[in-house]
């Protein structure tokens, strides 16, 4: 019997996760000593952690394979995952920036918020870099469990409770399917490693016709579809987004969705290229359903948070279009899109947070009547985010959509793209509706309660840059994304 051989513990491969976890634990300890009204400092500290982690992400870019791999093939911090990690860090950073203002206003600024965000981020990172189904699964669970808590973070608020509980029940339920899928895949290939699955499939030509393998793939796909909120696994999204504290909604719509895509892409594209025909046709259908359901239902939404929730479903649909294409451009498109989506969506939520009044969330579209009169700059910025969400140049949203759709066109999915653009056109309606109220209606409210909190403004400013710059000069980021693709 061989002795225990410890694997090469390559901390370089999990450096960002490590940093975040350590900072989170430090914050947990500090939390005891920081009085209630000064929890913001924890936020700043966590920002420091995020920035440091970001640097480690940057330094890991294009690192040699030896530095990327670690833990016996459990994790691989390649460019792909690094790009995603950057997205996670940006979304969590932005979410941290907008949290304190909101939490203080809502009187629930518990210090645990920031560690939880950081843990969630670490979980996302593990999802994106995990090359073992176990790593991916556990990363996903770290993320999910944190998010259940974050969604229900406003303990005293029934809606928040409800959001947390719904998210929890459905999340756990979907975990069942995901796990079953993993089990079947394991059964069909005899391994839980991504690379191993791919190798097994490559070796055994019959595997692609083996129902156990196919169904395993399908069940895993449904599990990930739940995470990225693809129809018909999207049902939790609107309720949870609406009920969760707004900063967390912003966070959830950007980071975890990207994480879902990261794992989704890695599993399907790296482990199961032999099933490409199957999954891309599945994704075709999912994409159409998701875009259509998201956009159509968003048309009649009055609550702006809920509207953005449906819109986020639709955006997942756009990403699925690129995913269905199954080519490098599609992946690069998703990378780019998730990045820009983080900026534009969190930016929009930041403004929603500013507009919200204690007790009255002011989340209805009507509450924005005349916003432009009182706050022209903020209204303009909100319009910018909405235009970006609608995919109108020269914003990042347009470039991203362009890239996604063109990848699908390259793969020959013309009808998919046509459905996509028609959806995109329909989506203009509800984005414009917000602008109609901001710009074209007379003010009802005075908006005098609005406190322009500097961190929130900073978040908005960063988001503006993140929306405009990639929209005007997308080259650099697109090239990075192109280098980060898996194939």
């Amino acid at each position: 019997m061989e002795t225990l051989v410890m694997p090469a513990i390559n901390f370089a491969a999990i450096m960002p996760e490590t940093i975040l976890s350590i900072v989170a634990m430090v914050l947990l300890l500090l939390n005891v000593f920081v009085p209630g009204e000064q929890k913001a400092y924890l936020g700043y500290l966590s920002l420091v952690g995020i920035v440091v982690a970001f640097f480690s992400v940057v330094s890991g870019w294009n690192a040699p394979l030896s530095l990327q791999e670690g833990f016996n093939g459990s994790v691989l911090q390649d460019n792909f995952s690094l790009f995603f990690k950057a997205i996670f860090l940006i979304s969590s950073g932005l979410a941290v920036l907008i949290s304190d203002h909101y939490m203080v206003k809502e009187e629930c600024n518990h210090g645990e918020l920031y560690p939880l965000i950081l843990f969630a981020t670490a979980g996302m990172m593990l999802m994106s870099s995990g090359t073992d189904m176990m790593t991916i699964f556990l990363g996903l669970e770290v993320l999910s469990v944190s998010l259940y808590v974050l969604a229900g973070f406003k303990r005293a608020d029934t809606k928040s409770n409800e959001a947390g509980l719904k998210y929890f029940l459905l999340g756990a339920f979907s975990t069942g399917f995901l796990l079953y899928g993993m089990a079947l895949t394991y059964g069909a290939t005899g391994t839980t490693k991504i690379a191993g699955i791919a190798a097994a499939a490559a070796q055994d030509g019959t595997l692609s016709a083996n129902p156990m393998f196919v169904v395993g793939m399908l069940l895993m796909a449904t599990g990930f579809s739940f995470k990225v909120a693809a129809a018909p696994f999207h049902m939790w999204t609107p309720d949870v987004y609406e009920g969760a504290p707004t900063p967390m909604t912003a966070f959830m719509s950007a980071g975890p969705k990207a994480a879902g895509f990261a794992a989704f892409i890695r599993v399907l594209m790296v482990a199961m290229p032999v099933l490409a025909v199957d999954w891309s046709s599945l994704l075709w259908v999912l994409a159409v359903l998701t875009m259509t359901v998201g956009n159509v239902i968003a048309l009649t939404q009055n609550n702006i948070k809920r509207m953005l929730a449906y819109s986020s479903i639709a955006h997942a649909g756009y990403c699925l279009v690129g995913f269905a294409a199954g080519n490098g451009e599609g992946t690069a498109g998703i990378l780019f899109y998730m990045l820009s989506y983080a900026f534009m969506n969190i930016g929009a939520f930041a403004i929603i947070i500013l507009v919200g009044k204690k007790g009255e969330p002011n989340n209805n579209v009507e509450d924005y009547a005349g916003f432009s009169v009182k706050h022209p700059v903020l209204a303009m910025v909100m319009a910018l985010f909405l235009f970006s969400l609608a995919g109108i140049p020269p914003t990042a949203g347009f470039i991203g959509k362009f890239y996604l759709f063109s990848s699908a066109l390259k793969a020959g999915y013309i009808w998919l793209v046509i459905i996509g653009v028609l959806n995109s056109a329909a989506s203009c309606y509800y984005y414009l509706r917000v602008m109609v109220f901001m710009y074209m209606k007379d003010p009802v409210e005075e908006f005098d309660w609005m406190k322009l909190s500097p961190p929130v403004l900073l978040c908005i400013a960063i988001s503006v840059v993140g929306v405009v710059v990639p929209g005007v000069v997308p080259s650099i980021i697109l090239q990075l994304a192109q280098k980060a693709i898996l194939l």
């Binding site: 694997p7 833990f71 016996n72 645990e112 770290v142 944190s146 169904v215």
Partner: protein, 168 residues
């Protein structure tokens, strides 16, 4: 002999799990679930995984179910006041039946990877010991996932604290 034993335990497992979803009183459901867990533990033993059987009993039946029962008691939940409407149940059953049907259907048509591909056989388990095998695997090959579980539990603890502690 083994088949017979399997059949009996499987029948108990299925029955108790049916009880889980049919009992009106949550406590009864919980107890039925514990029953199922025990059946599963039996299977684990039969499948040469005695360590898993042990933690199945300890963690699941012992910890998780206790927690659940505790919460049921804490919240003083009685039997469900109303039931889902019959046709909701019917439709759900049909869908669940389809889940079963499809699973069985494809299972019958599919082949698992080659038997005995790996090094672990009953004899190895007997000679080395299951716990050691698991432990080695966990501390070598699956070190990272194992570490992640620590994060996970930490998060769960924080979460539970945040959500239910009295004062902030």
């Amino acid at each position: 002999m083994e088949t017979l034993f399997f059949t009996i335990v499987a029948a108990v497992a299925v029955l108790s799990s049916i009880l889980v979803i049919t009992c009106k009183n949550p406590i009864n459901s919980a107890l039925s679930l514990v029953m199922t867990f025990f059946c599963l533990a039996t299977f684990y033993v039969m499948l040469d995984a005695p360590f898993m059987a042990a933690i199945q009993v300890i963690v699941y039946a012992g910890a998780i179910m206790v927690l659940i029962v505790f919460v049921i008691m804490l919240l003083n939940i009685r039997s469900e006041t109303g039931k889902r409407s019959n046709h909701a149940v019917a439709i759900s059953s049909i869908v669940a039946f389809f889940v079963l049907f499809e699973t069985c259907y494809f299972l019958f048509r599919s082949t698992a990877a080659k038997e005995g591909m790996g090094p672990i056989t009953s004899s190895v388990v007997e000679s080395v010991g299951h716990t050691e095998l698991i432990g080695k695997a966990m501390y070598s090959q699956f070190l990272l996932p194992f570490e992640i579980t620590s994060l996970l539990l930490l998060v769960a603890i924080i979460g539970a604290v945040v959500l239910s502690k009295k004062k902030i």
